[in-house]
């Protein structure tokens, strides 16, 4: 690999910042903390960029975000965060699909679902975010959270079961 340059790093990783921010937001539950986590993660990623094998940059970056997020010291543990949604900014491919999707939830139901997600333990929450929002494969999720695939599978199953209960209530 030639000398790694900031130019190469930014070309690969700056377009992934929405993904990084999404994970950080869900891990921390706070807009402010999420920004700090993403910034720290990018600085770390740049520091370790020489060790990046050129594989899937997204899973690699998300693993760093996840580790930053999990060790982040929140000044204020109990923090109620306003849940915001991004419709237009998060890519029209998904946006269009969701808009046309019969399964799409009403705004109030989505808030209830977001709250239910926020109330899950972080082990459950992170696998849901990585699977349902970031759309990583089980293998990628296993790499990001540093757990065996079997563990990922059972965490996902249990997390979905809990969210299913919430969905039944709002159905």
């Amino acid at each position: 690999m030639p000398e790694s340059s900031l130019e190469d790093f930014e070309r690969v990783f700056l377009p992934l910042m929405d993904d990084a921010y999404t994970l950080a937001r869900h891990l921390s539950g706070s807009e402010h903390d999420a920004q700090d986590i993403v910034q720290e993660a990018y600085l770390r990623a740049w520091r370790y960029f020489g060790a990046f094998d050129g594989g899937d940059g997204r899973a690699w970056l998300l693993a760093i975000v996840r580790n930053c997020g999990r060790t982040w010291r929140r000044p204020n543990r109990v923090e109620h965060h306003a849940v915001e949604y991004v419709d237009d900014e998060h890519g029209t491919v998904n946006g269009d699909r969701f808009a046309a999707d019969a399964a799409a939830l009403a705004e109030s139901d989505r808030r209830a679902l977001e709250r239910a997600l926020a109330e899950l333990s972080v082990e459950f929450r992170e696998v849901i975010v990585l699977r349902e929002i970031e759309e990583l494969s089980y293998k990628e999720i296993a790499r990001v959270v540093g757990a065996p695939i079997g563990t990922v599978m059972s965490r996902l199953a249990r997390a979905r079961e809990r969210l299913q209960r919430t969905l039944r209530m709002i159905a």
């Binding site: 130019e7 915001e84 419709d87 998060h90 029209t92 998904n94 399964a103 970031e134 990628e140 979905r160």
Partner: protein
């Protein structure tokens, strides 16, 4: 009932992974076998499908605020010595173009002009039309196989060149098969891959006139990436998101490099 068959207890914890297509074929077949014979599990499966569709529909990502982007870029610069940066306006253009595609802004990004544009446009529309047509039942492949040693020789005698047919299932892009199609009036080999429930078509034809540079664009909700290697032009097209297609093109090209 043989010992090999799954019970409800075996099946239930696997339903999510079954829907995600993350089970190995043997286990998936056993789950399917149980579902066919068990109304309770079958109903649980329906409910799981519904839950997962609603999770997908209800959970959203967040867009990183502009102020954060600026902060990160400034911090990266602050902590990096100038000589290691090699920042250029060209790179800024590429990053902006990537971002542009990433935001689904569509249109031909960095497209060539004039005549090349007109030819490119024909190719683009042929490739897209062929891809869309292939998604109709029975049109996807002429040779269906997840084995490159079946697909690659199949092209012999059907096209007068030999496209790369790498195995990419380790990267979660299983090979599905191949077919021959027409692009801009000449035969093109099409190598077909899957990404979860999506199809990725890779069109290939000989072309030594253009350099190997990679171009990306999106058209009517489909993403396309074009590159050249060893005198062959490749166009990957799919409705997977641009990140997945980017990852796909990357591993395909890497696998094709001797």
């Amino acid at each position: 009932m043989t010992r090999d068959e799954f019970t409800c207890g075996d099946t239930r914890p696997l339903l999510g992974a079954y829907v995600d297509a993350e089970l190995d074929p043997d286990t998936a077949a056993k789950v399917a076998g149980h579902l066919a014979n068990c109304p309770e599990c079958s109903s649980e499966y329906e409910s799981m499908l519904d839950t997962m569709a609603r999770l997908r529909g209800g959970l959203r990502g967040f867009a990183a605020p502009d102020v954060l982007r600026e902060r990160v870029r400034a911090e990266l610069r602050r902590t990096t010595p100038a000589r290691a940066r090699r920042w250029s306006w060209r790179a800024a253009g590429i990053a902006a173009a990537l971002l542009f595609v990433g935001l689904g802004a569509g249109g031909a990004v960095g497209a060539a002009r004039g005549r090349r544009e007109a030819i490119g446009s024909t190719i683009r529309h042929d490739v897209l039309a062929s891809h869309v047509r292939s998604l109709m039942p029975g049109h996807l492949t002429d040779v269906a196989s997840n084995d490159q040693h079946n697909v690659k020789p199949w092209f012999n005698g059907r096209v007068d060149f030999s496209p790369e047919v790498p195995r990419l299932e380790a990267d979660s892009f299983p090979l599905v098969g191949g077919r021959v199609d027409y692009v801009a009036g000449r035969p093109a080999a099409v190598i077909v891959y899957a990404r979860r429930k999506h199809v990725i078509d890779v069109f290939a034809w000989p072309d030594t006139t253009k350099p190997g540079a990679v171009r990306r664009e999106s058209l009517n909700g489909y993403n396309m990436i074009e590159w050249g290697a060893s005198g062959i032009r490749y166009w990957a097209v799919s409705d997977v998101n641009d990140r997945d297609l980017e990852a796909f093109a990357k591993v395909f090209r890497a696998a094709g490099t001797p």
